[in-house]
Point group: C2
DNA sequence: CTGAAAGCGCTTACAG
DNA sequence: CTGAAAGCGCTTACAG
């Protein structure tokens, strides 16, 4: 907290005194009321500028019992996906006249509780939460109460909060169908953890595509690993323990896919030449890796704007029942999945 | 703005009534005053929990004439460098009990003015600004006045604001010295534009290292290009128009270095084998490119924490004169610069 | 140890 | 068209 400012703040009352008017009239000018005389208005506006008046929205909000802030709590701002999301949220909130109260949790549930508690003291009209892994919905509910609407992004939490999710099922299904269309029949699902809901959903899409094509799912080609490049590279060998090995892999996300591509090269194989790889997310590196990565784009900035719009709608309409929205996923075909299969491999 | 909440807010007065005490006493409990009787305190705390009271910091701040917010205005949140910076700022501000008011400008000067004006109405104790390209210091000064302290990051704006910059000179010097120590004498400076202050500073470090080693600077090896991968790849040929050609290049940044490496391979050369390359920034891709890129790390998250600490210090001590801080730069040696020179090349 | 009163910067009926 | 008065949720001397 700060010590009181040396220079005292310019206040409505100062302007009123200088113009020899009441505070009420100044307030009307500020809020653009048509009630005030044009000449009076001009005089007041000149004086506002002259004294460098800055509106104290907090005081106004207190009096009016409204809030012009929305809290945005992000699990991992150093992930470009969430950074883009945050940029989209902030953009749309600003356009609607709201200010963003930022909190980042670094995937820590404890920090998430602390950050949210602190932000709530600043009286946000609503909250947008991209939950930390392992978030406890009941604890969040206790913190939030029922007064503050929340939109949950990306990871489902249950409760009666609005929810914006990526279309994980459809995305993975698109990737898998693409590989099948290329002639692959032996397709692994590579990376991610079963206990993550997004991983479960992506596997579901993968399974659905296989099933629709009449391809049996091979349990030994369902390979779990932490969703990082390094872990993925380390797990590459698991794809090739048995013969025949898969000819393609749908990866949990781009990081995993890039790790797998590295793992492939250190085994003398090359993605896009003798093995097909797809990712998920379309991180910036995906377009410049060697080879460029076929992946699923979810446009995080657009998702951010969408999240902002959803919470704003909820603020205006608190009574309707919770809304679950699924954002579209788009297949981007690049070289990593374009393999000419030998007769043997297919 | 929101319509008034349906459920009325729980207030100090509600707790006071329920406990049959005055609001003053409740306030003392909230602020942890030792004046209040232990039994009374316990009773109050139970009631606070029971009613789900949440402190209205805005009201308290208004009364106390303090602020517990800091505005953070970022030019490009979709750049991982600035996203990390923002995460570091938020982390440190939260630890100090402040909340972050986020604004992103997308490198637009007009948006920067609008965003800042809006944030200032929320009465931040201070501002951290990573300026949009082409920012107008005088216009910013008009907006800010002299009441609100600001810390400027990365791009110098003049005025009497505190300033945190990266050590471009020292970073480029470290990279150049490293190449010299590897035996190189024909070292180019590749990429960036003369009109960017960071590019000028990096060239200055490069020149200083050459001068200290008694190596003459060759004007034809100072090659400008836009700081993107694509432009850099396209300019690669410019290094080899004359004989002898350089054996190494200090690149303006990592994007340029990665582009140069691509340009080299399409000419049948390989960074780290027959040509040495260094970058600047340590973007995530630098560690996973082929070969991994020797570069200068500036640790944006640590810079964010540092920025937060600097503005907090300024809040506590408004009178001291403006402070310019230069953040350290660290050389990360990786394979792209490790070339065994043939007798001829050296 | 607790309460009554004034006030932070604003807005909003209500008069005139 | 403008002003007087009350009040948003809190804190802070000042009494007692």
């Amino acid at each position: 907290m700060t010590a009181p400012a040396a220079r005292p703040r310019v206040t409505l009352a100062d302007i009123a005194t200088a113009c020899d008017l009441s505070r009420a009239t100044i307030s009307l000018v500020l809020r653009g009321s048509p009630l005030v005389n044009a000449e009076t208005r001009a005089r007041v506006e000149a004086e506002l500028k002259r004294q460098g008046y800055v509106y104290h929205r907090g005081a106004a909000n207190l009096r009016r019992k409204v809030s012009s802030a929305v809290a945005l709590v992000i699990n991992d701002l150093s992930n470009p996906f969430f950074a883009e999301f945050a940029a989209g949220v902030d953009e749309a909130l600003a356009d609607a006249g709201y200010v963003t109260l930022l909190g980042s949790t670094g995937e820590s549930v404890e920090r998430q509780q602390a950050v949210l508690a602190s932000l709530l003291e600043h009286d946000p009209a609503g909250v947008i939460l991209s939950p930390a892994e392992g978030s406890d919905a009941a604890r969040l509910r206790t913190l939030l109460g029922t007064r503050t609407p929340m939109l949950v992004f990306n990871r489902e939490l249950g409760q009666d909060w609005d929810f914006l999710s990526l279309d994980n099922v459809r995305g993975a299904r698109l990737a898998t169908e693409h590989l099948i269309a290329q002639g692959h029949r032996r397709i692994a699902f590579f990376g991610g953890h079963q206990d993550s809901s997004s991983c479960r959903q992506r596997r579901e899409g993968y399974r659905a595509a296989l099933a629709a094509a009449g391809i049996a799912l091979e349990p030994q080609w369902q390979i779990e690993c932490a969703p990082t490049r390094l872990e993925a590279a380390g797990q590459t060998a698991a794809l090739f323990v048995r013969d025949p090995a898969p000819t393609a892999a749908v990866c949990y996300n781009d990081a995993v896919a890039l790790g797998l591509m590295a793992g492939l090269s250190s085994r003398g194989r090359r993605a896009g030449h003798d093995f097909a790889v797809t990712g998920f997310d379309d991180i910036p590196e995906a377009s410049v890796s060697a080879p460029p990565l076929t992946t699923i784009a979810v446009d995080p900035r657009a998702r951010g704007r969408q999240a902002a719009e959803l919470i704003l709608r909820r603020l205006h309409d608190p009574s309707t029942s919770p809304i679950a929205t699924v954002a579209p996923a788009r297949l981007l075909v690049r070289a990593s999945s374009l393999v000419v299969l030998s007769g043997d491999a297919a």
